[in-house]
Symmetry: C2
Subunit: 213 residues, 2 copies
Amino acid sequence: MKRTVDMQSPAMERNQRQAEANRALFHALGVRVFNLISSPGAGKTTLLEATADRLKERLAVIVGDLATARDADRIRRHGCQAVQIETGGGCHLNAEQVAHAFTEIKTEKVKVLIIENVGNLVCPSAYDLGEEMKIGMLSLPEGDDKPGKYPTLFLRTGLVLINKMDLAPVMDYDFDRVYNDCRTLNPGVRFLSLAAKTGLGLDDWNRFLTGEG
Amino acid sequence: MKRTVDMQSPAMERNQRQAEANRALFHALGVRVFNLISSPGAGKTTLLEATADRLKERLAVIVGDLATARDADRIRRHGCQAVQIETGGGCHLNAEQVAHAFTEIKTEKVKVLIIENVGNLVCPSAYDLGEEMKIGMLSLPEGDDKPGKYPTLFLRTGLVLINKMDLAPVMDYDFDRVYNDCRTLNPGVRFLSLAAKTGLGLDDWNRFLTGEG
């Protein structure tokens, strides 16, 4: 398969070097870092609000949007640190933006950092931010055909969240199709079904984040 | 606001020249052309199936995906021509891909061409394909904050579709927030509420496409 971005380009090489530096720093500080990627409106911010309710100051969030600081404001109200990156139209976060945002976080009590990428199933998948793992988030109303249609992301996700399970009664959703398409791209992938709004699956999610699951 | 892409770059200039050539050709042939842009899973393909059911051979569709030809196959079964562009990882369609795909369409009976762009609220907004109008599609489960968060698209959409109205009873969705955010970006924008699955709003949609509404 062709790639969107030439992995040998100077910009990609620079991003990769910065990502490795980020990773070394996160490791030295004992912070687990996850890069959360989904379509717009799959429920990333709602999940992070619920996660902050439980982890409080053990969680920090860096959140990327083209414009507005709404998401960081929303998340901060739930008791964790949150730093907004406004990309000014940019379609993904890069490692340099994350390094810069991370300097604003007081790390003493932080065990888990979640980077909420720009809502986009394509471009964010090509950029390493220094994370331990990319997490892909799907939601029931998007339909069950997304992993096959967006393979550049689902090749690289160690965990796939399936959100908005509260809508399962009014949706046709073929879970086996999703599992099979994801496993074809990445045989070792794990899955968690969630309803961020109602709390379903959040215990498992928190155990995963803190390394107990 | 900064732009993702430098509008003066040679690639963008080349795209713009090809887009103007496409537009001249579409005009000469009397085909109205719309560039349909949404998040993954907002319901573009389902809408196009329902549109093909009504317009039949008066409709043609060009559909872009990173991988798979599923969407063109789905749409074709409903009685219109449909050509798939597989972008091989690319995050948007460009005017050259559209020009090439258009050569595969027999235009005698075609009055309306809808280009279903790659599911992505960011990158497709920067590329003119030669269309008469960009149409942005939202869906209720994505939440009502998307126009403000993805301004590069909603600055440029002449029509905003709000889909999955069948889910309204189980959703909190602030329509006025969507209307206001869209109008702030583009005061002349129009709106249509739809449920592609149930048929709600499809008469208005068909009248819009054929120029009767």
